[in-house]
Symmetry: C2
Subunit: 78 residues, 2 copies
């Protein structure tokens, strides 16, 4: 599972644990609901500013959104 | 200092601690040297895929690049 998918699943889990709908999270973070859906499906290459907005809105460290993302070592992948 | 600037300073510090030039880091991460310079100056809204590449190349957790980024709480800023 690639980084975008792991990030998206973390976002969905953290959102649901807080009882937030995609729409509520989107509103509170100042983003569009469809954009949140795309992130959760692993379709979006979310950038720094929005990563920070999402972490702040969920009340988590940025690290929580990257939990389980495989870093590996550059150049050593098969 | 905003999130992009804090991220950029973390990147510069971690790179220098490893004795890497911008050019070497860029080459190893598969990015352009000018792009690395822009990130370190806080000018770039780096996205997820490249954040992961940079962390992997530096051999750090993604959290290290976000260290000191102010999350605050959505909607409560002055």
């Amino acid at each position: 599972m690639n980084a975008r998918h792991v990030f998206g699943e973390n976002l969905r889990r953290l959102r649901q644990e807080r009882g937030l709908t995609q729409e509520t999270l989107a509103f509170e973070a100042g983003l569009h609901r469809n954009y949140i859906g795309g992130i959760e499906r692993g379709e979006r290459n979310v950038a720094l500013d929005n990563i920070v907005k999402l972490a702040a809105t969920l009340g988590v460290e940025v690290a929580a959104l990257f939990e389980g993302v495989e870093l590996g070592h550059s150049g050593t992948e098969e």
